[in-house]
C-alpha cells in the first residue's frame, strides 16, 4: 500500500516537534519489502519467520557546519511498519 500524504504530514509534524533541527525538511520516502532473512536466522539458531514484511522509510537530511567549518551530513531516519506506525527513529552520529 502506498503511503499517503496524511501519514507523511503526521510524521513531519512529529519530527518538527521532537527534532526541530529537521523542521521544514521534506523527507525522501522509500518503501521496501523484506523477505524472511533465513540465512541470518539460521546462523543465529533461531526459528525462521515465514512472513514478508513491508516497511517505509522517511529520510530527513541536511548538511551542517561544525564550529571549525567541517561539513557533516545529518541524517534522521524514521522507519514505519505496514500500518504506518513508527518502528524506530534513528540519527546519524
Amino acid at each position: 500500500m502506498l503511503i499517503n500524504r496524511i501519514h507523511i504530514d503526521r510524521i513531519k509534524k512529529k519530527i518538527a516537534e521532537d527534532y526541530p533541527e529537521f523542521k521544514d525538511i521534506e523527507p525522501k520516502i522509500t518503501e521496501k519489502e523484506i523477505r524472511p532473512q533465513d540465512e541470518i536466522f539460521h546462523k543465529l539458531d533461531l526459528g525462521v519467520p515465514k512472513q514478508f514484511r513491508h516497511i517505509y522509510r522517511l529520510k530527513f537530511t541536511k548538511v551542517i557546519q561544525t564550529e571549525d567549518r567541517v561539513p557533516i551530513d545529518r541524517i534522521l531516519m524514521v522507519t514505519l511498519d505496514e500500518n504506518f506506525e513508527i518502528i524506530k527513529i534513528t540519527e546519524s552520529r
Binding site: L44, I64, T66, I72, M77, T90
Partner: protein, 341 residues
C-alpha cells in the same frame, strides 16, 4: 611484502610476534604472511581483501577452525572489505572487517573473532600493540553530545557513575582536561565525527562545538568505544589526525572499538544501532571476556535483539554490524576474573 612496504624493517615486529606467541600459553597461535610462501604450503595471494579471506579459509581447512583472527596492518597491508552500503547515505561503500570474521557469505553474523592492529606506518607502533597490558583503576569516563545525553546515560550506567559522563557543550576541546582520560578502565564516546576532520564534535541545537581532538589525549588508559561517525576510519591517517590511532598510541589503551563509516543511533532510550552494540560490547568486557569475544558476542546479541524486536535486520542494523571494528590485541581483557570461552 605489503607489511614491509609500510613499516620498513619487519624484523623487530617478527621478534615481537614471537614473544607474543610465547606469552599466550593458552592459545595455539599461527602467524602467516599472506603474500609469502608458508610452511603449510598455502599459496601466497595478492593484496586483495577477497583473496586474503580465501587464504584464511585455506588455513582453516588445513589447520582447523580459527577462533581468533588478528590482522596485522592497516588498509595498505590487509585491505578492508568494501561492502555495498545497505543504507541510503553518503557512504558509497562500508569499510568492513566482518567478512574476515565470517565463514559464509552472510557477513553480518560473525563466526570468529576478528581484530586488527593498524600499522600507522611505524613498526614501533605495531610492536607496542602486541605488548600491552593495563592496571585496573575501577573508574570510567564518558563524553556525549548534549542532545544524546539520555541515550548515553542508558549505556554509561553499565560501566560507571553518571556524574562521570560529560556532555558537549559545555565540554569543548579547549576546556578538555587530559586527566579525564587517565587511570580509567572504560572510555565511552557518543559524539559526532567526520571523515575529513581529526576532531569529534558535540551538539546542542544547531551548535556543533569541537568536543575533543587528538591533542587532548595524553597518558590515557582503558578500553575505548566510540559511536562517532568515522570513529575508526584510518585510511591515510596518522595519530595526529585520527583520534582512534592516537588512543592506540597510549601505553595503557588496550583497544579501540568504533565505526569506519556513518553510524546511527537513537536520540533517546531504548538503545538501538551503535548505542546497543557498544552497550553489549562493554557488558561483555565487564563480564571478563576478551575484547575480541566481547565484540563478536555483542554483534550476535545485537542481531538477536533486532530480530526479536522487529523480525528482521533493517538497513541500519546491517550497516551497524558491518561497520564496527576492533583495533588492538583481541586476546586482552580488562577483568582479572577470566571467563573462559
Amino acid at each position: 611484502m605489503a607489511l614491509q612496504k609500510q613499516v620498513g624493517n619487519i624484523r623487530p615486529i617478527e621478534k615481537s610476534i614471537d614473544e607474543y606467541i610465547r606469552s599466550r600459553e593458552n592459545y595455539q597461535i599461527l602467524f602467516y604472511y599472506y603474500d609469502m610462501p608458508s610452511k603449510h604450503r598455502i599459496k601466497p595471494v595478492k593484496k586483495k581483501a577477497e583473496a586474503i579471506r580465501d587464504y584464511v579459509m585455506q588455513i582453516e581447512r588445513k589447520m582447523g577452525d580459527i577462533d581468533f583472527l588478528l590482522l596485522l596492518g592497516g588498509d595498505e597491508v590487509v585491505p578492508f572489505f568494501r561492502l555495498e552500503n545497505p543504507c541510503d547515505d553518503a557512504d558509497e561503500q562500508v569499510l568492513s572487517d566482518s567478512p574476515y570474521a565470517s565463514r559464509d557469505e552472510n557477513y553480518t553474523i560473525p563466526e570468529r573473532v576478528c581484530a586488527r592492529i593498524p600499522d600507522n606506518r611505524n613498526a614501533d607502533y605495531m610492536k607496542k600493540q602486541l605488548a600491552k597490558s593495563k592496571q585496573l583503576h575501577k573508574k570510567s569516563f564518558g563524553l556525549t553530545a548534549q542532545i544524546w545525553q539520555r541515550a548515553s546515560e542508558d549505556i554509561y550506567r553499565s560501566i560507571g557513575e553518571l556524574e562521570e559522563l560529560r556532555s558537549s557543550p559545555p565540554v569543548t576541546s579547549d576546556k578538555f582536561k587530559k586527566v579525564w582520560l587517565q587511570k580509567k578502565d572504560y572510555l565511552y564516546f557518543n559524539v559526532h565525527g567526520s571523515k575529513v576532520s581529526a576532531n569529534w564534535y558535540g551538539q546542542q541545537g544547531g551548535e556543533y562545538p569541537v568536543a575533543m581532538q587528538p591533542s587532548n589525549i595524553e597518558n590515557a588508559s582503558g578500553i575505548v568505544a566510540s559511536e562517532s561517525c568515522y570513529g575508526a576510519y584510518i585510511i591515510d591517517k596518522a595519530e595526529s589526525d585520527a583520534i582512534s590511532l592516537k588512543f592506540l598510541d597510549q601505553d595503557e589503551v588496550i583497544g579501540f572499538c568504533g565505526s569506519t563509516t556513518i553510524a546511527y543511533g537513537p536520540v533517546a532510550p531504548p538503545s538501538s544501532e551503535a548505542d546497543l552494540l557498544v552497550r553489549y560490547f562493554f557488558e561483555y568486557v565487564k563480564q571478563g571476556f576478551t575484547l575480541g569475544e566481547s565484540l563478536k558476542n555483542a554483534k550476535l546479541d545485537f542481531a538477536r535483539k533486532a530480530l526479536r524486536r522487529n523480525g528482521f535486520l533493517d538497513d541500519d542494523d546491517q550497516k551497524t554490524l558491518l561497520q564496527f571494528v576492533l583495533y588492538g590485541d583481541p586476546t586482552l581483557r580488562l577483568q582479572k576474573n577470566v571467563v573462559r570461552s
